[in-house]
């Protein structure tokens, strides 16, 4: 199958779950021009990402992320989950056209269940014992 790895700004490691599961697949990163303008990125962030990307087996483009990915006509897109609303918006556009496999990101702590996020102290009360193996 012709899989395409969708690299995005939250998963730029050579051992991210998508590369590990599909080592032979091509990968594409698209600089999201709308994100760059909305968040008013300066050249520093772009250069930092670019230096990261040229170490990876990935092609680099800029423009509309979903359109650029779909233009490659993949049979399937593989990516790593992100909670960025832009990721979710793009995912919806892709899923309307092609199957997308979203792999879980590496978690800080393996906590199953609901967490009270009103304040950090409430979150930490639950998570700290797991982190410190108490």
């Amino acid at each position: 199958m012709n899989e395409l790895i969708w690299l995005h700004p939250d998963c730029l490691a050579a051992d991210n779950p998508a590369y590990l599961k599909y080592p032979m697949a091509k990968a594409l990163f698209v600089f999201d021009e709308d994100e760059i303008e909305t968040e008013q990125w300066t050249l520093k962030r772009i250069a930092f990402l670019y230096e990261t990307l040229i170490e990876l087996p990935a092609e680099i483009e800029r423009g509309d992320v979903a359109a650029k990915l779909l233009a490659r006509r993949p049979e399937k897109i593989v990516t790593v989950e992100s909670i960025n609303p832009r990721f979710r918006d793009c995912l919806k556009q892709l899923e309307a056209v092609v199957p997308v496999e979203v792999l879980a990101a590496v978690a800080f702590v393996d906590y199953r269940g609901s967490l009270d996020l009103k304040r950090f102290s409430r979150y930490w009360k639950r998570v700290e014992p797991i982190v410190f193996d108490k």
Partner: protein
């Protein structure tokens, strides 16, 4: 796009041509390099035990891992495991690991808030109406020309490197929101624009914490506090030393800045 460059300068020139609007905002390239190798060097250098003692000082043993973690080049789990491996007792890495947990916390909140991270999470506790805060970041702040040695130095560093120590971020945010009465969103966007680790969750929610829309009270500081944790490097040469906006006790400043009724 191209993948091979003879030097960082050549990369910068290429990116300036490809991303002209970003370059027009600020065309500088940070001395902090991207990539896994650079991230792993920073990771290997962490000193979690010393971090616990001196992280609030600008010359403290902070990790500078945030740009790498923000972009998934390194994971929170990797940083946590390495920190634990470097200390005899896990508690000696407690402060460092707690800061990693803050990022996890912000990310979990982001999942529930989405684009809502741009809106006030709670009411302000400053006693001032929302209309008391200016919409836009004043030009003298954005260009580092306020005349305050500390704030101008923070802006210069931010623009040149895309990085600021967490304490500098807090002081700067408090200055913008409380001393200059500017909406936190304007400051948050300025940071997102320049920070290599710019992330709408960690960034905006931290600004909200300072502003008091995500905390029980506004965060502010006085000169004594800033001078202590900077070893006076800014105050020593500041043109307004002794008569800056930050002079005085916390009680006096609170009275000047807010309209908080006695409880």
């Amino acid at each position: 796009m191209e993948r091979s460059f003879a030097s960082r300068q050549e990369l910068a020139e290429y990116l300036s041509r490809e991303f002209p609007s970003a370059a027009a905002r600020d065309g500088q390239i940070s001395p902090i390099a991207g990539g896994r190798e650079a991230g792993e060097l920073a990771l290997a250098a962490i000193q979690p035990d010393r971090y616990g003692f001196n992280r609030n000082y600008l010359d403290g043993n902070v990790s500078r891992l945030s740009p790498y973690i923000r972009h998934g080049i390194l994971t929170l789990k990797q940083a946590k495991e390495l920190a634990f491996s470097k200390v005899k007792d896990r508690l000696h890495a407690a402060k460092f690991v707690t800061e990693l947990a803050w990022r996890d916390y912000w990310q979990r909140l982001y999942q529930t808030m989405g684009k809502g991270v741009w809106e006030d999470r709670e009411d302000l506790k400053t006693g001032l109406p929302a209309g008391a805060y200016a919409e836009k970041l004043p030009e003298d702040i954005a260009s580092g020309e306020t005349g305050l040695a500390c704030m101008d130095a923070f802006v210069k560093q931010l623009r040149a490197t895309g990085y600021l120590h967490n304490h500098s971020r807090m002081w700067f945010a408090a200055y913008v929101v409380h001393f200059r009465r500017v909406r936190w969103q304007a400051g948050a966007l300025f940071f997102l624009s320049h920070l290599l680790d710019g992330d709408p969750a960690s960034n905006n929610l931290s600004w909200q914490w300072v502003a008091s829309t995500f905390s029980h009270k506004p965060y502010f500081f006085n000169r004594e506090n800033l001078e202590k944790y900077t070893h006076s490097v800014y105050c020593r040469t500041c043109p307004v030393r002794g008569r800056c906006d930050f002079e005085g006790s916390y009680e006096k400043l609170e009275e000047k800045l807010f309209r908080i009724e006695a409880r």
